[in-house]
Amino acid sequence: MTIKGTGVFLLVWLSIAAALVLSIIKLPASVSDYLPNYACLTVLVWAVALPDRVNVMTGWVTGLCMDFLLGTTLGIHAAAFSFMVWMLSSQFESIKYYSLVEITIAVGTVNFLGQFILFWGEHLFGVVTVDYNIFWTSVSSFVCWPVLYIILMSVYHLISPKNEDE
């Protein structure tokens, strides 16, 4: 249990760290507008799959890392990420048992709202460049989420093969 627990813990945080690095890789502006927010997606995957391990504070910490990495006002990504995790864990309590399509729709909606909060927070606390392209991120997140979910879950089942995640 402890070894498995450590393995899962490592998996969660390593995947989040990888997603954070991935999300600051610079690509040509024409592409990067349409890329999903990996860090956010990863947190949401774990929030759906392991609600007892990944909670609002995990989202908050990830968001704070994001703030540091991107150089934004500290706390804005943190608030948005924790809001997203909270939405999933409080509004969709049995989301784990939904079909993949249903989960994707739920997560996509939550992600869209989170993106909006991000934008709004930046707008409240500073002058921001209004660029509605950022909402394409939600669309691509919607598309990418099931893929990421399947990949991460298969890795997860490699680490903890028993149906302990039930």
Partner: protein
């Protein structure tokens, strides 16, 4: 703990962070340390793109390289030819400034920097560069490239720093129209290749195609660097000010290499410093005020000598006053005891 409690906690923490971060510099040191530790992360994120870029360079054919080499040599020789006159122009400029009692401009210390291919705040126009405090980078430092002004450093970690581009909405730069010296402020619009020249009356003499250069007011950007060209000048009916748009000369969306500038002598990043403040155009008020020197040649408007360290008025010291009157040349600087060229020049005229 229920999710609701956690959310409340997270929101409160975030709010505190946001408010403190926005209204004070309390997290500056924290950010500095965290970003210094995160440097390796930035380099990891930067690696794939730069590896691809350098791989592309390595795969260039010999012919392409030879072609490029020839083009570069041509450009270099063109530049050299331009530079041949540059030295004498600099010398002339120094002479004239001396006559004009203006501070002589020291050459700026420069350092090259490379843009790291790292994504930054999606809501503002910033880039990250691979120079930090260990290279002497400071906040507010002007950044240019070979095309024009790029922006300024807004935060410097140990070996990386962030540069706010001039077209960001939070950025404004004091500029001057090169053609006629009209001063203005060019603010960013948030669109990467657009600046607004704000608060200019509708009858101002600015037209599309005018070059805007830094005016040096504000002391942050050194004077004389090209910033943008005016693209749109519109006297909108019913508006108080003219609508003036300009396009930055630097291609801000395709930045790769840039130069950090250090202001000479005075303290680094002293915003209030008036080192580049524009000097009075007429007469020589500063010198007069400082040492009580009487303008030596007020008849024909030639500028008096520099005797900033309290030396006697030039005309009295070496009798160059009449000479200046006669041929309109200003007397020499005698602050360091150099002989005045006035009489000699007059003699030359007589010959």
């Amino acid at each position: 703990m229920s999710p609701n409690v956690r959310l409340a906690l997270a929101v409160v923490l975030s709010l505190v962070l946001v408010l403190v971060d926005n209204n004070s510099d309390a997290f500056k040191d924290v950010r500095y340390f965290v970003e210094s530790y995160l440097t390796s992360v930035y380099y990891i994120a930067d690696a794939p793109v730069s590896v691809i870029a350098s791989g592309g360079e390595r795969l260039k054919s010999y012919q392409e390289l030879a072609e490029e080499n020839r083009a570069l040599k041509n450009t270099l020789s063109d530049m050299r030819i331009e530079l041949l006159r540059y030295d004498s122009v600099i010398h002339d400029n120094e002479e004239l400034r001396r006559l004009n009692n203006s501070p002589i401009k020291e050459p700026y210390q420069k350092m090259g920097a490379e843009v790291m291919m790292v994504d930054t705040n999606p809501f503002s126009l910033t880039v990250m560069i691979n120079r930090g405090r260990k290279d002497g980078v400071y906040e507010g430092q002007p950044v240019i490239n070979e095309q024009g002004v790029v922006g300024q450093v807004i935060s410097a970690a140990k070996s990386v720093s962030r540069v706010l581009l001039i077209s960001d909405q939070n950025h404004a730069i004091p500029v001057m129209v090169m053609r006629n010296g009209i001063r203005a402020i060019a603010t960013g619009t948030g669109v990467i290749n657009e600046l607004n020249v704000v608060n200019m009356p509708r009858n101002v003499d600015i037209q599309a195609g005018d070059l805007l250069i830094t005016s040096g007011l504000g002391g942050r950007f050194p004077a004389g660097y090209p910033v943008a060209t005016v693209t749109v000048f519109d006297r909108k009916e019913g508006l108080q000010f003219a609508e003036i748009k300009a396009q930055p000369l630097a291609t801000l969306d395709r930045l790769r290499y840039m130069l950090l500038l250090w202001q000479p002598d005075d303290g680094r990043g002293d915003i209030g410093e008036l080192s580049d403040f524009d000097w009075p155009r007429t007469g020589a008020k500063p010198a007069a005020g400082k040492s009580g020197a009487r303008p030596a040649a007020d008849v024909n408007g030639a500028k008096p000598a520099e005797n900033g360290n309290g030396a006697e008025p030039a005309a009295d010291a070496n009798g160059a006053g009449p000479a200046a009157d006669a041929n309109g040349a200003g007397p020499a600087e005698n602050g360091n005891g150099a002989p005045a060229p006035g009489p000699e020049r007059e003699g030359g005229n007589d010959d």
